[in-house]
Symmetry: C2
């Protein structure tokens, strides 16, 4: 079947494709905040409609959380599953956005034209590259290039509570030869990248309790235990200031060094440490001593503080000793680190360091996910790598990824299906941050890339 | 002039006095938050009206901040100034109040009847004890017992920015023999107390800046410097974990040990360490090792964290490395500690500990106030002590105070006038906290106490 006609179709219908993406970006589908539950449902319905347009038998399927969108279509011997997620991160701090996060627009920047808005890159823009590739193929050939199952989730940014039960209950219809996932970035702008490994994730949150009411710092300043000071002391104890290593006992159990040959491949992948650091205001890597920024990001575990708060945050001053202090934690896991065992170690680390009269409560009990290593020896990986190299006129590379996409591990665990992660985001997309963007080039060539990959695999 | 008739009048008109206090408590005069500026003006006008009722020549006088209420009246040889403040602390966290903070009510509690509401104790209830004493005196004798100047401030809870300029410009009319201040508590319930010393105050606030935008903890977790972790490390460095002492270089310059005889007096003042600690959920004092809770509160300096925040505080989790972290600090000063020099030492402590790629900005520049030691050798102190002992059937005591009332020092500095601090609050009044209260007994016997003190001084 002619690929060139499909690529030409993609070029000529790009404006309409962009309009469709904008329609999806306008829906504030923030999954972590219950206030946006109706918007998540709306995004799911919007996508089910979109897939039906392509002739897939598609529906938004209810779960205890946000709906799953599942569509089946196409024909032939080969059967692939595509996964993406339609939910997005919260938008705070809103005042740092230079436009409404849910009123997307094309903006001209020194680095080129970008699509601005929450979810433009993570993951609405990316998942639409695949759907638009299918749309163009259908338009040219009247049918999809192969048998396809499209599986879109609405809880990826909030721990995917419904994912495992849904996959288990529907394993039959969700099992294909391999899963294609578009939720990752390119190692460097213009360098097409296929993930060879992903970090896992562990989330937790604790509250330190001190006095039974907020206290006046005149009446109790001195004798009074201050939960903020307690939290700071405990948070500071999580890392060794000298080495930058996490100081939780047994934290590094299951962490392996990167094989020298893979490390060499990574170092030649075009990752530009200077740009990576300087673009966000760093001059040096701040992780574990003895590892490059690339290794710190792709191959080393972390214990990160995503939020801390307590006491008075308003204008001016308040002479209070607060009764509580709060801390949100996430860990990135590598190798064989076990999220459940690690959670216990972290909680034990905190509990062992509490002062008399201080107590701790754990406020989240979120699903952890282990790290994932891809089976890059499968022929689909090499076929995809070639197709990507053709589109981008640059040798595509296998790279590590600092992010966590638990789904890759779940596909293997629950469906016995390998996953191949191909994404077109860039590190400066500000995903999870104010002013998120997706390069118009990523969207356009991303669509073209999927058309080539589907052609190569079918 | 008959005192008994005045005391009888106070007893019989207590319900009306309570109603007047409730009128004042209903005005949300939160001085630190610009949103409540009109309410502060309203409270000032309300009090000017009240003083005019007593025949004082009174007015709410404008300042660049909130108004000062000044009233002059009465006659005779003796001239005293009374000081109080009509502004109150913010009410957050609002969800911990069991009623609207500005809808006051009498509540029956196991410990007796209380007036519940923000400002009931600090300082609206306390200042009204003096005004009601004057009202009863006027009702019985047709005139005030002596020449009086009443001076009420609306910025005490927010650093008193307008106070020094106002006192300087109006020093003539504000200078009396001695200043009477009702903004302190009793060392123990039912034990009338006169302050022999107060701690000073220093306020500051800083922001740690890291990356130039919020970052994704997958893309930058590891190599990325996290301002929350930076803040925790620096906050933890402010105290020696072993001794509980503040670790800022030169922090204790100007701090003196309490003279043994005064310490003995304090220890016999009825201060109940067990109740003081247990009532708020502590089992041991958490301040400097080697000092009793009483010394830690009255005679030792502190560096306290009143608010810390940064990153995501919402429902669920957000995998972000925030670009900023914030911390509000207050210090309680004793002896000859110099607030201005101390501010420099604290800022130097932070700046010396910043990592590469981290910067700090200082977000407040609030007036500091040195500690104050009272001139208890003046005859007015002994006269007042006797009058209080009569009212409470219990020897009144000279005690230290953990709080800071800068005004006492300013009266001395600017007007050359000593101050005498007499208050009827209790440590469990939850001032600055949710569910603030003032004992009905404190209000009632407080009014009677001022009638006795005025009688004794006039």
């Amino acid at each position: 079947m002619s690929l060139d006609a499909v690529l030409a179709k993609i070029d000529e219908t790009l404006p309409e494709a962009m309009d469709r993406l904008f329609g999806l970006l306008r829906i504030p589908s923030i999954s972590t905040d219950p206030a946006y539950r109706p918007d998540c449902a709306k995004a799911a319905d919007w996508l089910a409609e979109e897939l039906s347009d392509l002739g897939l038998d598609a529906a938004a399927r209810p779960t205890p959380g946000h709906p799953m969108v599942v569509g089946h279509g196409g024909g032939g011997d080969r059967h692939f599953l595509f996964y993406g997620h339609y939910d997005v991160q919260p938008v705070d701090p809103l005042n740092l956005w230079h436009r409404d996060p849910f009123d997307p627009a094309i903006e001209d920047t020194p680095a080129g034209r970008v699509i601005r808005g929450r979810g433009a890159s993570d993951d609405k823009g990316q998942l639409m590259t695949f759907i638009e590739a299918c749309r163009a193929w259908k338009a040219v050939h009247g049918a999809l290039p192969c048998r396809l199952t499209v599986f879109l989730e609405g809880e990826e940014e909030s721990g995917s509570p419904s994912l495992i039960p849904f996959m288990t209950e529907n394993s039959g219809e969700l099992t294909a030869e391999i899963a294609l996932i578009c939720d990752t970035s390119m190692v460097s702008p213009g360098i097409p990248s296929v993930a060879s490994q992903l970090r896992g994730m562990l989330k937790d949150e604790f509250t330190i309790h001190g006095p039974n009411i907020d206290l006046h710092s005149g009446h109790y300043g001195g004798p009074g235990l201050n939960p903020l000071r307690e939290m700071a002391r405990i948070v500071a104890s999580f890392h060794d200031a000298e080495t930058g290593r996490v100081a939780v006992e047994g934290f590094y159990d299951g962490v392996h060094e990167v094989p020298p040959e893979l490390l060499r491949q990574w170092e030649n992948s075009g990752f530009d440490e200077k740009t990576y650091l300087n673009s966000v205001g760093y001059t040096v890597p701040h992780g574990e001593k003895g590892y490059s920024a690339l290794e710190q990001q792709w191959a080393r575990p972390t214990l990160e503080f995503n939020g801390m708060w307590g006491g008075y945050q308003g204008v001016g001053s308040k002479t209070v000793i607060p009764s509580e202090a709060h801390c949100k934690i996430t860990c990135r896991l590598v190798g064989d680190m076990d999220p459940d065992r690690l959670r216990e170690k972290i909680r034990a680390h905190v509990e062992a360091r509490l002062s008399i009269d201080a107590t701790v409560t754990w406020d989240q009990d979120l699903e952890g996910s282990p790290a994932a290593v891809m089976n890059i020896s499968r022929p689909e990986f090499e076929a995809a790598r070639k197709a990507l190299s053709d589109e981008w006129d640059r040798e595509a590379v296998f790279v590590g990824m600092g992010g966590s996409i638990p789904i890759a591990g779940y596909f293997k665990e629950i469906l016995g299906m390998d996953a191949m992660l191909i994404g077109f985001a860039n590190d400066d997309d500000a995903i999870h941050s104010p002013n998120e963007k997706y390069d118009v080039q990523s969207f356009h060539k991303g669509i073209r890339s999927w058309a080539r990959v589907l052609s190569a695999l079918s």
